[in-house]
């Protein structure tokens, strides 16, 4: 595991030095561009320039922290874990009824990129700000993908399948459940904290739970978008085979 360090008592892991895959098409999706052929070359050039800048200025500091807990009980509307952590959300209880364990993950790309976005917007450079913000979101997507893969790989060693990820605040999983997740994961170690609304600071962060078990339905990419209440209208939705972006 790259740069991994296992916590001493609890089975908590913090991972840094994660390689992010900043795929152009995924970046364009996060820029709200749904047809690649029509993108102005100036905009493509600016995205390339920003990508170089991200490297030069070390704007990405990806890290995640996660914990895997046995599920002690599953009721109609709640899922109980170790240490008196109880999660509510209809989507969990229906999709994870076969799960034996739950992986809880909090990840971030750190505060540097969004600080630069704010500077661009404040400095009257909104296009740069908007484009860099989109790249940041694509980076978080990649971070989440990598975390899912790692958990999946680890689970398969034990003969388990890993479910799709579920994030508090998305359809069927209230944002208030963030406080439960943060009881389990030492998010402060990667510099993530919760604001009163349940949102995370830095902004470019993600939290999710993944069900693990022999009978769990395996993850399918894009499922989170399909499940979302904005699945038909969202400008940024993911569609299979990258059909969202016509070459």
């Amino acid at each position: 595991m790259p740069g991994g360090c296992i916590g001493e008592e609890k089975d908590v892991t913090v991972v840094r030095d994660i390689h992010l895959n900043l795929d152009k098409r995924q970046i364009l999706r996060r820029e709200g561009i749904r047809q690649q052929s029509s993108v102005r070359p100036e905009i493509m050039a600016l995205i390339d320039e920003l990508l170089v800048n991200i490297d030069d200025e070390h704007l990405l500091e990806p890290a995640w922290a996660y914990e895997i807990s046995p599920i002690s009980r599953l009721d109609q509307d709640q899922l109980s874990l170790a240490e008196d952590v109880v999660l509510h959300g209809p989507v969990l209880t229906s999709a994870l009824s076969d799960a034996e364990e739950l992986a809880v993950v909090v990840g971030t790309i750190g505060p540097r990129l969004e600080k630069q976005v704010t500077d661009y917007l404040g400095g009257r450079e909104p296009l740069r700000g908007l484009l860099l913000d989109g790249i940041g979101s694509a980076a978080v997507d990649s971070l989440a993908q990598e975390a899912c893969k790692l958990i999946q790989d680890e689970a398969s060693l034990r003969g388990y399948q890993a479910s799709s990820p579920f994030g508090p605040g998305t359809t069927g999983f209230p944002i208030t459940e963030q406080w439960q997740l943060f009881k389990l994961v030492p998010a402060a170690e990667i510099g993530v904290r919760l604001a009163a609304s349940g949102l995370m600071v830095p902004r470019k962060s993600v939290s999710m739970v993944i069900g693990l078990g022999e009978q769990v339905t395996a993850r399918e990419r894009g499922e989170a978008c399909a499940r979302c209440n904005l699945s038909k209208t969202c400008l940024y939705r993911w569609e299979a085979n990258n059909q969202h972006i016509q070459a």
Binding site: E31, G32, I33, R34, Q35, S38, V39, R40, E42, I43, V117, T118, L121, R124, E125, P126, L127, G129, L130, L131, D133, G169, I175, A195, A196, S197, L199, R203, N229, L230, C234, L235
Partner: protein, 207 residues
């Protein structure tokens, strides 16, 4: 030739547009009508955006070009024209929500399109909106919000404006990723906008 400036902006030819504007100004053309011509270019960009040939980055790009042009033309305009704004607008992200990118983009677009924008920032309590509306007599209010919890804040903000006796003096638009007609009704706003272009069209429609 008239129309080439409009076309350069519509086609996002930044260098060409800037070259043309300098050339025309030096040639003694009326700065006010050059600005009009440029704005027409931006309107075409808006249409292309609505049709789906341009996307948000292109829209912002054209607004940046228009901004540059305005800065070049400004010193040549009379004092009155320089200070002339289409109308005032108070905008902010409602209490409890901290999303700012979308709101900032809307602010920029309104500004470039000639509005005097008073941006209250994020996590803005209802009373702050009321104070700013009273202070500026702005007839247009924009509420931004992305979280489900922002829907209640939007409603509370509209209610506070009502309680202050200002409701019939302002038009209120709301926007953010999740906003639709049901939420508009719930919040008691006059309109909702899907994107920054919609914010500009709505505001212009209310002048």
């Amino acid at each position: 030739m008239s129309g080439e400036l409009t076309k350069a902006i519509a086609d996002l030819e930044e260098n060409e547009a800037l070259r043309l504007i300098r050339e025309k100004l030096d040639g003694g053309e009326n700065p006010q009508s050059l600005l009009e011509e440029s704005r027409k270019g931006m309107e075409i960009v808006g249409q292309r955006f609505s049709e789906g040939t341009y996307f948000l980055p292109e829209l912002i790009f054209s607004a940046e070009i228009l901004k540059e042009i305005t800065e070049i033309v400004k010193p040549r305009l009379t004092q009155e024209v320089q200070a002339e704004r289409l109308g005032k607008c108070v905008i902010g992200t409602v209490a409890g929500d901290i999303h700012d990118i979308g709101k900032d983009i809307v602010v920029f677009m309104l500004d470039v399109n000639g509005f005097e924008v008073h941006d209250l920032g994020v996590d803005v309590p209802p009373q702050k909106f009321v104070e700013k509306i009273t202070e500026t007599s702005a007839p247009i209010v924009g509420l931004s919000g992305f979280l489900t919890l922002a829907f209640d804040s939007m409603k509370e903000t509209v209610d506070a404006i009502k309680a202050a006796g200002l409701r019939d003096k302002v038009k209120i638009m709301i926007g953010g990723g999740q906003i639709d007609e049901d939420i508009r009704k719930y919040a008691g706003a006059d309109a909702f906008g899907q994107d920054a272009m919609a914010a500009v069209s709505l505001a212009k429609g209310w002048l």
